[in-house]
Symmetry: D2
Subunit: 199 residues, 4 copies
Amino acid sequence: MNDPIETLTSLFEKFPGIGPRQAGRFVQFLLRSPASVRRELAEAVQALSASVHQCIECMRFHSEKGKACGICSNKNREASLLAVVASDADLTALERSGTYSGHYFVLGGTISLASEKASGLRVKQLLDSVPARVKNGMNEVILAFPATPEGDATATHVREKLAEIPTITVSSLGRGLSTGSELEYADPETIKSALESRR
Amino acid sequence: MNDPIETLTSLFEKFPGIGPRQAGRFVQFLLRSPASVRRELAEAVQALSASVHQCIECMRFHSEKGKACGICSNKNREASLLAVVASDADLTALERSGTYSGHYFVLGGTISLASEKASGLRVKQLLDSVPARVKNGMNEVILAFPATPEGDATATHVREKLAEIPTITVSSLGRGLSTGSELEYADPETIKSALESRR
Amino acid sequence: MNDPIETLTSLFEKFPGIGPRQAGRFVQFLLRSPASVRRELAEAVQALSASVHQCIECMRFHSEKGKACGICSNKNREASLLAVVASDADLTALERSGTYSGHYFVLGGTISLASEKASGLRVKQLLDSVPARVKNGMNEVILAFPATPEGDATATHVREKLAEIPTITVSSLGRGLSTGSELEYADPETIKSALESRR
Amino acid sequence: MNDPIETLTSLFEKFPGIGPRQAGRFVQFLLRSPASVRRELAEAVQALSASVHQCIECMRFHSEKGKACGICSNKNREASLLAVVASDADLTALERSGTYSGHYFVLGGTISLASEKASGLRVKQLLDSVPARVKNGMNEVILAFPATPEGDATATHVREKLAEIPTITVSSLGRGLSTGSELEYADPETIKSALESRR
């Protein structure tokens, strides 16, 4: 049998952004914690498998009753808008802003510029869901991707696929100065967008 | 007489962003440089006094012949637009973007939130210059300040002052995701602007 | 019942150095991982309780058979030397250096300068173990604490306690330039030690 | 004639650690400063040429009367010790520590590992000065180089050259934990030195 300290350290090393040193600290932290903390952690990890599932509409993970999550099943949300986001975290950021009340679809990532592949992204699932959404009143898809080369490549790809559906508008989040940006250090592209979207 | 090494070190310490250690390195660098480099530097510093002057129109520093700088005296620039910027560096950033062809006015800074004073800023000079600019065809003032609390306070202040002139539009640079921004880390204000200026 | 995503997020937030954002990423990572990974993690966490115990001699955590760990029960290690370290991680660092072959005692931390208390540290247990160790041939205690104010305070405290035992030498790790240190940025204390320990 | 703003910017860009952006800020800072500040700076730079010279003994730059600097001409300093340092800044660091009262020799840099050349270093001048220093009572040369690969290569080189002189001891600064070092993150070499120089 393996050393449980080493086994757990190597599991923590696979966590995003965690190297061997911090993985080791996590294990030491758990060793010094009461047994009840370790039990709670083990149970919470297992509970993910038992009670978390993907929403069949927006594809995000949730633990609510029902196949669709609370946002997708909320009749008060604007049916005319669909925001396509890369990840659950980006969906959360949009919700936190308190200014969007439409629906969501989580694509599951962005196109990697190394591979230029959209594999792993739920582009087909998005397209398949469009007819029913249009019937429901949807008339605008907002591509809410990060303002990075990967986000831009993903937007271009999704935009091409959606171009075949004539009844919907496809928009992208506006560019400009982010809160906190110094003009002096802004790139020409950002300044161009900020000038164009002045008001 | 003072030690010239110490005198020069303390002068370099007053340079923006330079602490005692780097000031000392500058002096060591000059000591190890040939005497011709020191002479060149001393002459270039003195030449600023002799040949650099402020443009009487936009207030930036330049070393061209004539009282107005090359941008202000360029008949091909759009006379209808006036961008008000905080500093020469921000003016340079806008020029570098290659998308602005109007005129400029350098305010000389932003309102400090500590003092909430606009003293030192050329607000009066800006207002005094407006009638002649309007006669020349100017109809929009673009407040091109950094997207910081100081920049916002300055915009509010200048906007109030300009409100009394009914024939001109006052606009501000658009907010949104800057190039490179992750949606996940964007603040609610930036997301709100990005949603509103989507297209 | 609570939301398992939130429960797990708040557990990860207690991990050393982990804020809410990274805790959320950990959960998303586990959600996207196969169920087998979650099961493995839960089991490894529980296995700590089942198979890890503290060495009765050096007090570090280990998962070997027997009450004493592999180092403490190794007859080939030098019985004359005892290194007192703050943590398991510091013990590991000394072992990794490959230059120490004596025994260890893990004190369990350093004195906090805020509280100036040595509570929680195993000073009494260390002192209690000394007579038997002396009988076994131990004649030097090496205080191997970090070169920080906390480490220094801990060394002073332990040194006072050990002063009553006349038959043993108490030493501390030597100070000097660490590998990679620039002389220019070294503090006077480090330079003093480096000069004194020159050779 | 060139634009004095650009000329001065490109001169500041040659300063150690200064890029085009900060060079531009320096020029803007000088433009906004009163003419008296620019005159003072120009004069201080020129004064370096006029009143700073290299000490004929230790080779550091100084502005004192006399060919030898204040340290080298100080009869109270210990004649038996000679610290060989890489730079004036390292000499200053040793002086600041208040624990060294011997003499100095500034080598003028360290061996670059890229070129593996000692060219530009005053090794020959150091060796030439040794007989007179020995006659004066010098019996130990302390190689006080940074604890970096470059510093180590320089020490090895100088040590080889000095090996031919049998009457002097050659020592190097001691290695160990620098003030503030955590044991956990220390490299094996540093731990080895710290263990060996324990006391």
